[in-house]
């Protein structure tokens, strides 16, 4: 009999992942993906599978991993509920451009469409929230589809891809041959840039008196931090970040003027409507950044550096669009721009900062009142981290405070759910972040609401010993919603108050050291204890119950109408 080199579709999946350099995957087994898990068992020395406690946790962990490493996060789940539980994380990865490949099991191909046990049309469901998705019913298609999936997920503007593999295709035998994908004829990941547009941009920049940069995650995804820094240092232009652009430029850089947007800094928001040239770099003019579009930077000429043509003129009409990866376009621009400094203009940012400091920041970071503030917790964390930690934040008031006040020396250090605003993101994302950057301190800052949405991932932390530091800022409210209720709904606190369990006991139940503090005098020592711990650590800080986050641009208002109180 002729000897055969055939392997199963399942083994092919594992071999493909290894070919793509994957060494860690997050997932949860179940009926329709058991053949793949059986192969994982055989390859466990090469491919580390992290069993999360819920499939959503697996997606966020993969996102956290992807965001700190720049590599593709990989998720596996079974059919039906396993697959539907991925949807939130996939949607989050789509809107925040996070490279991720999700592999789901599916019922056998002869059962497709018959409402079989745990059958679910995950291709149909995931279509609007994936960059690409594909169902495989034949083992022989596995290598080509997986190669394509990784190429699509990480190239151009990254995003999530889902591959659904029927159970019979997992069992079927096939000849394995792997070829990495480097192009797809119908797909242009990085549009060619036009030197003509760069010339025009340089001319505008060289002639501008009050130029202003807003940068986003495009700088990080393009690995263009050095080019970006060179550009701003040569031109002396003040630069503000979107929430996903945070950490691309170190916090203490003299040209870093803070955050734009709804809870961004006072100066960057007000001066958006005073600059003469607005240079948007790798950002997409989200409504949380622009406020009312009718009054957004109308006085300015706008230049947009962007990899995704669909983002150009989507929300804000721009005067010059420079398509392409900023890694390629910024060096061309740097050649053409003149060395300058804009002292008076930058001083304006400083004077706005002083106003903001007196009205908001001072009370946040150095409160005179009795109650602990979220801001002082972050300030204290900065004291110990020295800006070297990875900060993973959840969604809500604490997220805005963490992003406003945490300091960063290194890029890819701010992990948060920006576009989708997914509560429950931080705890599992911190697990992935720590596994992606095991030598770095990873601190998750979470509210008491979001924490309870994925609290089961404490089980993953316990089982893996993943040394994440968890800080829950507990105000016993869904604080951001409560703030809006206070400001815009006459203080009708509809379903925002939370009666919480003993979080420290829950952590202890998972054998995670923990502490709860209510007083300022215990803050420093507790954070020190947390940072010094080599193991996972849980710290609950009871903060002021009804504190509000300012500055704030009320929904629908103009950026220049940003309020300090």
């Amino acid at each position: 009999m002729k000897k055969t080199n055939k392997i199963s579709g399942s083994e092919a999946v594992i071999k493909c992942l290894l070919e793509e350099g994957v060494d860690i995957i997050y997932g949860y087994p179940g009926g329709a993906i058991m053949p793949i898990y059986d192969e994982l068992f055989k390859y466990e020395d090469k491919l580390n599978h992290i069993l999360t406690r819920h499939e959503q946790g697996a997606t966020h962990a993969a996102q956290g991993y992807a965001r700190v490493t720049g590599k593709v996060g990989v998720v596996t789940a079974t059919s039906g509920p396993g697959a539907t539980n991925l949807v939130t994380g996939i949607a989050d990865a789509q809107i925040d451009s996070t490279p991720m490949v999700c592999i789901t099991g599916q019922v056998a191909s002869h059962l497709l469409g018959s409402d079989a046990f745990q059958e679910c049309d995950i291709i149909g469901i995931s279509t609007p929230v994936t960059k690409w998705n594909c169902q495989i019913t034949k083992a022989s298609d596995i290598p080509e589809v997986i190669a394509k999936a990784f190429y699509i997920a990480k190239s151009g503007r990254p995003g999530p891809v889902l591959i659904d593999i029927t159970k019979d295709a997992q069992f079927e035998l096939m000849e394995f041959k792997y070829k990495k994908c480097h192009s797809i004829r119908s797909y242009t990941p990085i549009p060619k840039f036009s030197i003509n547009e760069i010339n025009k941009a340089a001319e505008l920049i060289n002639n501008s008196k009050k130029p202003f940069i807003v940068f986003g995650q495009g700088v990080i995804l393009g690995n263009a931090e050095a080019e970006f820094k060179e550009f701003i240092e040569k031109t002396g232009i003040p630069a503000a970040w979107t929430i996903l652009g945070l950490s691309a430029l170190s916090s203490d850089h003299p040209l870093n003027v803070g955050m734009v947007g709804m809870h961004g800094n006072y100066g960057p928001n007000v001066l958006t409507n005073e600059c003469d040239v607005l240079i948007a770099i790798g950002m997409r003019f989200d409504d949380r950044v622009t406020g009312n579009l009718e009054t957004y930077a109308k006085q300015a000429k706008i230049i947009h550096f962007e990899i995704d043509p669909a983002e150009v003129n989507k929300n804000v009409k721009v005067d010059i669009a420079v398509l392409g990866n900023v890694k390629d376009t910024l060096p061309e621009l740097i050649e053409l721009v003149k060395e300058k400094s804009h002292t008076n203009w930058i001083n304006k940012f400083h004077s706005f900062y002083k106003k903001e400091f007196d009205k908001v920041i001072k009370n946040d970071l150095h409160p005179s009142k009795e109650g602990l503030t979220m801001g002082e917790v972050i300030r204290e964390i900065n004291e110990f981290s020295k800006g070297n930690a990875i900060i993973v934040s959840d969604v809500g008031q604490h997220q805005m405070v963490a992003c406003r006040y945490a300091s960063f020396n290194y890029s890819k250090s701010n992990v948060t759910s920006g576009g989708l605003g997914t509560m429950g993101f931080a705890l599992p994302a911190a697990i992935g972040a720590k596994m992606g950057a095991p030598d770095r301190e990873v601190i998750a800052i979470i509210g008491d609401g979001g924490y309870q949405m994925t609290i089961q991932e404490l089980g993953t932390i316990f089982q893996t010993g993943c040394a994440v530091k968890i800080v829950v800022l507990n105000n016993e409210y869904l604080g951001m919603v409560r703030q809006w209720q206070q400001m815009f709904f006459d203080k009708r606190y509809a379903s925002t108050e939370m009666i919480n369990p003993d979080f420290v006991k829950i952590a202890k139940g998972y054998f995670i050291d923990g502490k709860k503090i209510k007083k300022r005098e215990n803050l420093k020592s507790s954070i020190k204890e947390m940072i010094n711990s080599k193991k996972p650590y849980f710290l609950e800080v009871c903060v002021e119950k009804e504190a509000n986050v300012f500055p704030m641009i009320p929904s629908g208002a103009s950026v220049s109408d940003v309020r300090l109180e």
Binding site: T127, P128, W132, S186, A310, N313, K314
Partner: protein
């Protein structure tokens, strides 16, 4: 920018792929845009398919929609055109009782004047086909309705643009064109 809804013919060249229709229609769904008609067929290039979709949307929206369609992996290129920029037709079929054809002399005149064709005649019914603009198929509908329409159906728009779309160039294929 006007707030007027315009009619646009959207032409999309794609790889053949299960689920692509869903992916494209989801982009209209996301923006709460109704699809007036949709036709898919092979294109002038082997294994490349063409969608022709008619929508009524704001001028300010159509460019964003086209770019969001264009960025889908298996979409080769997407275009939009106003009615003036395309040559377009629709086909309609009308099923009528046969006895009207013989009893009502008018019907024969209507068919002749509207340049419609009789596709089939059976003892019970006959079928008329009319290809043309929407107004023409509607006019014929109005004329035939009094005689009792057993069935009526109209196809989606098919259209070719006046300007070249240069799909071969996008794909790097050599053509004699």
């Amino acid at each position: 920018m006007t707030n007027k809804l315009n009619t646009y013919t959207v032409s999309i060249y794609t790889e053949n792929n299960i689920g692509l229709l869903n992916r494209i229609s989801a982009i209209f769904l996301k923006r709460h845009v109704n699809i007036e008609s949709l036709t898919t067929s092979q294109s002038e290039i082997d294994n490349i398919y063409r969608f022709v979709i008619v929508v009524k949307v704001l001028e300010s929206k159509i460019q964003n929609i086209i770019k969001q369609i264009d960025k889908q992996i298996e979409v080769i290129a997407a275009f939009y055109h106003t009615d003036k920029e395309t040559i377009f037709l629709e086909t309609a079929l009308y099923k009528v009782k046969s006895k009207s054809l013989f009893n009502e002399k008018h019907i024969q005149k209507i068919i002749k004047n509207s340049q419609a064709n009789i596709v089939t005649v059976s003892p019970d019914y006959f079928v008329i086909e009319k290809t043309g603009w929407r107004e023409e198929t509607e006019k014929l509908y109005d004329s035939l309705e009094p005689y009792g329409l057993l069935q009526f159906v109209r196809s989606g728009r098919i259209s070719v643009s006046k300007e070249a779309m240069n799909i071969s160039n996008i794909l790097g294929l050599n053509t004699d064109e």
